[in-house]
């Protein structure tokens, strides 16, 4: 089966500025694609084009096999779009807002009532039904906006920076909602300039910068491709304070030892914790598993010197590292 959404060679100029440059990717039904890049990377522009709000300078976008550039009117019933500002009317209640958009989507009578109810149910807005949207918290407002995109049961959801400014709890709830939607078979395109927001939400990700697509694939693919390529890794270890010697003395001793080891840089001490960095020399090509090897070696040295280490942890590679390593040298 071919993908629900196919973006081919998408390019958009604003005057002389190339906001989006030859972007190609696809998104099958039932998956969540994270669109990651710093501010001004071209995420919103790409999403607006996919949402039929703008036209590309060149390139093609197929939704369900049909060009949405040529026939935006036919594509609109299939997609739900949530802009980075949520776009709610302040002086309407949650119910009125959803009911209004349901009307706009030409839902009539009982069908409309059922649809609005089921959306409020799904997003957990039932108890807030009669509240004015202006009185809602940011997380709730965003759910109203998400509910709005679901009214006409679209196949593709386009969410521009939905997690921006949400507290952790609202973020986790958003993740659950999106997971549920994906398991219903909807394709979700979601963007963020904060990478950690997305690493737990999406199945695949696309890293974009200055209009270019730098890496695409499943989160695992991008991670493994980039973790091998990474030239450094952060390590954190903690010491036991009850070992007889004063803590400060142990810490100083550990710091000295660490600095004698090859590849170790940036050592810092904070009470009973030490942080350092394993870093390859400039220009060296990272071999697969070099971080693990170096960690084991350092740990052996510390144990032999009878340093009371209670924990030793290399920070896991996440999208943030992937992003840093892929965009290295291009972001200021």
């Amino acid at each position: 089966m071919s993908a629900l959404l196919e973006v081919k060679g998408l390019t958009r100029y604003y005057g002389a500025l190339k906001a989006v440059d030859d972007i190609t990717f696809s998104l099958p039904a039932g998956t969540i694609l994270g669109f990651i890049g710093p501010n001004g990377a071209g995420k919103s522009t790409t999403m607006r084009i996919i949402a039929t709000l703008d036209v590309p300078t060149s390139g093609e976008v197929l939704l369900d096999g049909k060009s949405l550039v040529a026939r935006p009117d036919q594509a609109r019933p299939l997609l739900g779009y949530m802009p980075d500002r949520y776009g709610t009317y302040d002086d309407m209640t949650v119910f009125e807002f959803l009911d209004f958009f349901a009307r706009a989507y030409r839902l009539r009578g009982n069908e409309r009532k059922a649809r609005v109810d089921s959306v409020m149910d799904f997003t957990g807005l039932m108890p807030l039904k009669d509240k004015l949207t202006s009185e809602l918290s940011k997380g709730m407002k965003q759910r109203v906006a998400l509910g709005r995109t679901l009214l006409h049961d679209p196949k593709l959801l386009i969410l521009d920076e939905p997690a921006d400014g949400l507290d952790p709890r609202a973020r986790i709830e958003l993740r659950e909602l999106l997971r549920a939607l994906a398991s219903q078979g909807k394709a979700v395109l979601i963007s963020s300039h904060i990478l950690t927001e997305l690493s737990e939400i999406c199945d695949t990700c696309a890293i974009i910068e200055q209009g270019h697509l730098l890496a695409t694939g499943t989160v695992q693919e991008v991670l493994s491709r980039t973790s091998n390529a990474a030239a450094f890794s952060e390590v954190e270890l903690t010491l036991w304070a009850g070992a007889g010697m004063p803590l400060e003395e142990i810490a100083r001793k550990t710091e000295r030892l660490l600095l004698e080891q090859p590849l170790v840089t940036n050592v810092s001490v904070l009470n009973n914790a030490l942080r350092f960095r394993l870093e390859l020399a400039v220009g060296a090509t990272p071999a697969s598993g070099w971080v693990e090897e170096a960690s084991v070696r350092v740990l052996k040295v510390l144990v032999n010197a009878e340093i009371p280490v209670t924990s030793f942890r290399t920070r896991e590679h996440d999208l943030e590292d992937a992003f840093m390593s892929v965009t290295k040298g291009r972001v200021q």
Partner: protein
């Protein structure tokens, strides 16, 4: 397609927005405040009227109270309601909620019409609150039912037009600065419109009997009534075009409205001219009025927004692209000049061939000036630093700037070389003084001046067309 199904579809597409606006509107304090104050004002006027009527029975107070009610009603329906519609549209743009509406399949047209219909229903509500009082003034004597009906019909059209202007101005302002400017523009327009509307209401109240006795007065009333609706249509189409996304074809609606309202205007002018047995100077006046309309509307048509959908081509004249709109404006201006020119020629022939050179010259000038300055606007918008602004704004600002420069520079040169700011040669390209000279003054210098004007206009049209065609080609490739 039956009328019924068309009206059903209209209600269906306009419905949601009207429902929403009414919900929001009734919640807003503005509505309650103005509704209350209007009732209080009407009521107190009625009480004063009753008191006066019992004191001096038999005197005709009707006129004054009629005018008074219309003033109060006009203040609300000519100013407050259009401004509220403007604000409502601006907010839709500020919050980008209109984008979400478009995605539902409502389309720019339905959004704009929905705003307008809900504003008009509010106006209707105000109107019906006032209606008993207006009828009451009828019973005070001094006015007749023709006046009452005429005033209400014209007021409805005027309110419709001003509301559509409010909505249209809002859609033209896409940036923050633009919206700030739009606030001033709309306050100015609505202020002038309200004063004009109320002044005319008093004319009808005081002189309304002339509606029956005076043909010119009646024609003016009919013309104003018809054209307020025609212009409302054109405004709503322009508003929808202003709101349309780059992925939608926006030029179709305004072009059709432009041509139909324009032709209607010419037909009305022709009818009045023939019925009233117009003379050449009337034809020149007609030409000045119609080309003024084609110029203002044309300035909006020749400055289309960026981008368009690839499939937008539907009939070659309706294809998007500023080049086609530009030619359309030039052709309409030419048609107008042709019609009035022929009427002058016909008059001349049937009156023993005593050619009226001034009338011909004036007609030609009233064609050449708008064409010249529209072209200059296009050139300024594309070739000067103005091009960094958004395209519609650049062209419109270019148009206004070139008119201002044309007027000021010509008058300065004329003052230096001809010793008077109103000189005939140096003002050949002055769209104000020059036009006045061509129409009203005589002298052989004017013949060379009109040749100069013609040559410059031709050149400007040619250059503007080249620039526009080149640009359209780049965009559609």
């Amino acid at each position: 397609m039956t009328v019924l199904s068309a009206s059903e579809r209209f209600v269906e597409s306009v419905g949601p927005i009207v429902v929403k606006e009414v919900r929001q509107g009734l919640r807003a304090k503005v509505f309650a405040i103005f509704f209350g104050s209007l009732l209080v004002v009407c009521l107190s006027m009625a009480l004063v009227a009753v008191a006066q009527a019992t004191e001096a029975a038999g005197t005709a107070f009707g006129k004054d109270f009629f005018g008074g009610y219309l003033t109060a009603l006009g203040a609300v329906t000519f100013f407050v309601i259009p401004f509220v519609a403007f604000r409502s549209m601006v907010r839709e743009l500020e919050d980008e909620t209109w984008v979400l509406l478009t995605l539902t399949g409502l389309g720019a047209n339905s959004i704009v019409r929905g705003k307008w219909v809900s504003a008009m229903s509010q106006a209707l509500l105000f109107g019906s609150a006032c209606a008993p009082f207006v009828l009451f003034s009828y019973f005070l004597n001094g006015i007749d039912i023709v006046q009452v009906v005429t005033a209400l019909v014209l007021a409805t059209g005027w309110s419709a037009l001003l509301t559509s202007i409010g909505v249209a101005v809002a859609t033209q302002a896409q940036s923050k600065l633009g919206r700030t400017i739009a606030h001033f523009v709309v306050l100015g327009l609505l202020g002038l419109g309200t004063m004009a509307g109320i002044a005319f209401a008093w004319v009808i109240a005081e002189e309304g009997h002339r509606l029956v006795t005076n043909d010119a007065f009646r024609n003016f009333a009919i013309g104003a009534g018809v054209f307020s609706w025609g212009l409302t249509w054109l405004m709503l189409e322009s508003a929808a075009a202003g709101l349309a996304l780059p992925s939608e074809a926006a030029s179709r609606g305004p072009r059709i409205a432009y041509v139909i309202v324009g032709l209607l205007g010419l037909a009305f002018g022709l009818a009045v001219f023939l019925l009233e047995k117009g003379r050449p100077k009337d034809a020149v006046a007609g030409q000045v009025i119609t080309s003024f309309f084609f110029t203002i509307a044309g300035a909006f048509c020749v400055s289309e927004a960026d981008g368009w959908p690839r499939q937008a081509a539907t009939g070659s004249w309706l294809k998007p692209g500023a080049a086609r709109s530009f030619w359309l404006a030039v052709v309409m201006l030419f048609l107008s000049a042709l019609m009035w020119g022929l009427l002058i020629g016909d008059y001349t022939v049937s009156n023993d061939g005593n050619a009226d050179g001034r009338a011909f010259r004036g007609t030609m000038a009233a064609f050449a000036f708008p064409t010249l300055y529209l072209s200059l606007g296009v050139l300024m918008g594309r070739l000067t630093p103005l091009r960094h602004l958004s395209e519609p704004v650049a062209t419109r600002v270019g148009f206004i700037l070139s008119v201002v420069v044309g007027v000021v520079a010509s008058m300065a040169l004329s003052l230096v070389f001809e010793g008077s700011a109103r000189g005939r040669e140096m003002n050949a390209l002055n769209p104000l003084v020059g036009l006045f000279n061509f129409i009203d003054r005589s002298g052989s210098e004017l013949n060379s001046a009109i040749v100069l004007l013609g040559a410059v206009t031709l050149m400007a049209v040619f250059l503007a067309a080249v620039v526009l065609h080149a640009r359209d080609e780049v965009r559609s490739s």
